[in-house]
């Protein structure tokens, strides 16, 4: 999708990196250990493309955290992991070396907080840098199959023509544990105008 020109796209990548970096430092502080996060890839795609990308790129079972947001852009954001690795991540976060077979109630909450911190920082950074406002709802953690993902993310809830998906790869590394996840931002295009305007204003100020 070429809603954004190259400069705008680069700016978004930069802002996401900034947000993810802030999330990493917040997480490091929380677990008293170094948490490294990086964003190797970011792309804007349409709903059908997202559907295909989820199907092709994601493992069959997922653990995730979803949060609604509204403000200068409206939509839903989600952090997605291979389910089999999510527990490893939680264990690394809380410094446990035991490997339970199933994710418990408490681990579900921990995962929710992890996603919460990450998504909040990304959205807040995006909004703050662009001098905009955004607010987020409380996070919801889930375990689903990849086929259920579009339903869970309400991908087809609104007008698919007017929905844009920002798919971001994110690499985690902490305490000898490394894994790749995805951030998916489902953005209502009715609000994308504000987004584009804000990006242009930011870029104009740079020049």
């Amino acid at each position: 999708m070429d809603l954004f020109n190259a400069d705008e796209h680069d700016l978004i990548v930069e802002l996401m990196n900034l947000g993810v970096g802030r999330a990493a430092s917040a997480l490091s502080q929380l677990v008293s250990d170094e948490v490294l996060l990086s964003v190797p890839r970011l792309e804007f795609i349409s709903v059908p493309e997202a559907q295909r990308a989820f199907h092709d790129d994601l493992p069959p079972f997922l653990a995730g955290v979803m949060q609604n947001f509204e403000g200068f852009i409206n939509g839903r954001a989600a952090l997605l992991f291979p389910e089999a690795r999510s527990l490893e991540l939680v264990n690394a976060m809380i410094g446990e070396d035991l490997s339970a077979d199933e994710i418990s109630e408490l681990e579900h909450e921990t995962l929710a907080e992890l996603g919460n911190i990450l998504l909040n920082h990304c959205l807040a950074t995006l909004a703050n840098q662009l001098k905009q406002q955004v607010q987020t709802d409380i996070p919801l953690a889930f375990n689903i199959s990849a086929d259920e993902l579009p339903g869970t993310l309400n991908l087809y809830q609104g007008d698919t023509e007017n929905t844009l998906v920002m798919l971001v790869q994110i690499d985690f590394s902490l305490r000898n544990s490394a894994l790749r996840g995805y951030l998916a931002f489902i953005i209502d295009l009715h609000s994308a105008d504000t987004f584009v305007t804000a990006l242009r204003a930011y870029l104009a100020e740079l020049l």
């Binding site: 408490l106 907080e113 607010q135 709802d137």
Partner: protein, 486 residues
């Protein structure tokens, strides 16, 4: 006409419209607070009032930071402010924030315990209010701790089982079992005590955390004499508990020791091997007086069981080793064990400059016994004669059966050839003395070849060949005699 679902839908929305929201929030089993844009409490439900101990009037209009000065964790304060000012929703999970609000709840036994919680902070849309929800997850935390503890035991158990399976030395395995329990029951030392074969004396086999000097000085507990916790465990074949050693008669003689080692209580779990045989005790000495919890009882049981498996396996390995090294009929060492002893004795004699003797013994007339009286008679005769030979020897000497009616005796040290010849004479006498078997009288004699280290050879092979040759010479010279080739 509206259908029934439309009707009930209409009713439902009617009910919901008229629902008293405040009443609903008060009846929730969890804390609910409403904060204004400046983080001040404008509503709190009954649960919250109950668990904070504050009066409602004292809560309203104040911030949590004001209510709990210097007690509110920074991440919580931060999250509340971010939510109230910037409208960002947050969850604070228990695992990442072990302490949130300083709330307490009463345990079933009536004690006040910290209330474990997770907190949801939700900025309400279409208003500048923020909803704080506090969930009591104390029970989930307990379940989780239980689960984790179970996993930890499993992991350690697996480690011990691996050691057993790999055939690690018994001492290592038992030490590992002790170390496992000491990890899981902090501030407790442990010991594994074993019963001797007569089942009279209980002595320490493994106690990695007790001082070695103490272990050396302990002679063991006499089952007939005292009634310590460990002995009670053996006698009752069940977990014996002394919650306070200072109030236990069985411990009066050992109170000084208990004080020195900081032992306040003793829990002893019998180690029960195959055929329900109590072979020892696994004992745990906590530094605080008290009885084991259900979880600790299970742990002691499981570890005693592991010790039983390790001991059982050790016993079997020993048995197999014995069988591999001994003659099943007479119980004497076989050729392999003889070679082992001979090799060791050669090295030692060489090192210390000793003399030692080897005697090759072959029975005269044994074939006739088998032919006339049958193999059973022959076997019985061999058993009796084997006993007679060992009866003439010192404990450090070896008598091995290396063939049908062939024995080799090794006298560990001799001062002279005469000494060896004297033993040979005694052996000739005892071997030619008739053996009574029911009505039968069985009689054989023996031909003995003697070889002396170092005069007659300096290697095992040379000495054995020399003794064998000498034995044939004794046969050739009329049997029932000894011979030494000079």
């Amino acid at each position: 006409m509206p259908n029934s679902s439309e009707l009930s839908g209409a009713c439902l929305s009617d009910i919901l419209d008229n629902l008293d929201c405040t009443d609903l929030l008060h009846s929730l089993d969890g804390g609910v607070l409403l904060l204004d844009a400046r983080c001040r409490i404008i509503f709190c439900n009954r649960w919250f009032i109950r668990h904070t101990g504050f009066k409602e009037a004292a809560l309203l209009g104040r911030t949590l930071a004001e209510l709990y000065p210097n007690q509110l964790p920074l991440p919580l304060q931060d999250a509340i402010e971010t939510a109230c000012h910037q409208r960002m929703g947050r969850i604070l999970s228990y695992q990442l924030h072990k302490r949130l609000l300083p709330l307490q709840r009463r345990s079933p036994s009536g004690e006040l315990r910290p209330l474990h919680q997770s907190i949801l902070i939700k900025p309400l849309s279409q208003s500048d209010l923020t909803l704080i929800q506090c969930l009591d997850i104390t029970n989930a935390v307990k379940r989780e701790q239980h689960l984790r503890a179970g996993e930890r035991i499993l992991k350690l158990e697996r480690k011990v089982l691996e050691l057993i399976a790999q055939g690690d030395a018994l001492d290592n395995v038992l030490n590992e079992i002790c170390a496992t329990v000491e990890q899981l029951i902090p501030d407790a030392t442990t010991a594994i005590m074993l019963l001797d074969e007569e089942q009279e004396l209980l002595s320490i086999k493994s106690a990695p955390s007790l001082p070695q000097a103490l272990l050396d000085s302990e002679r063991g507990l006499d089952l007939g004499n005292s009634a310590t916790t460990c002995i009670r465990a053996v006698q009752m074949r069940a977990l014996a508990i002394t919650p306070d050693v200072h109030r236990d008669d069985g411990w009066q003689d050992r109170l000084a020791l208990a004080t020195q080692l900081n032992i306040a209580a003793c829990w002893a779990q019998p180690i029960v091997a195959a055929f329900d045989e109590v072979v020892g005790v696994f004992s745990c000495y906590p530094q605080r007086a008290g009885s084991p919890s259900e979880h600790e009882r299970q742990l002691l049981q499981r570890m005693a069981h592991l010790a039983a498996i390790a001991l059982e396996r050790h016993r079997r390995v020993e048995r197999i080793r014995f069988l591999a090294m001994h003659d099943p009929l007479t119980g004497l060492p076989n050729r392999s064990l003889l070679n082992e002893h001979l090799g060791r004795n050669l090295r030692r004699a060489h090192r210390e400059g000793n003399q030692f003797a080897l005697m090759f013994i072959d029975l005269d007339g044994f074939k006739q016994i088998n032919d006339f009286h049958g193999h059973d008679a022959g076997d019985d005769l061999l058993s009796v004669l084997a006993g007679r030979i060992t009866g003439q020897l010192r404990g450090t000497d070896t008598c091995a059966r290396i063939g049908g009616d062939e024995f080799v005796v090794m006298l560990e040290t001799v001062h002279s050839a005469d000494a060896a010849e004297l033993v040979a004479d005694k052996l000739l006498t005892c071997l030619s003395t008739p053996v009574q078997r029911g009505q039968q009288q069985l009689r054989v004699s023996a031909s003995i070849g003697i070889a002396l280290y170092p005069d007659d050879g300096s290697s095992a092979d040379a000495l054995l060949t020399r003794a064998d040759d000498a034995m044939y010479q004794a046969k050739a010279e009329g049997k029932n005699r000894w011979y030494r080739i000079r």
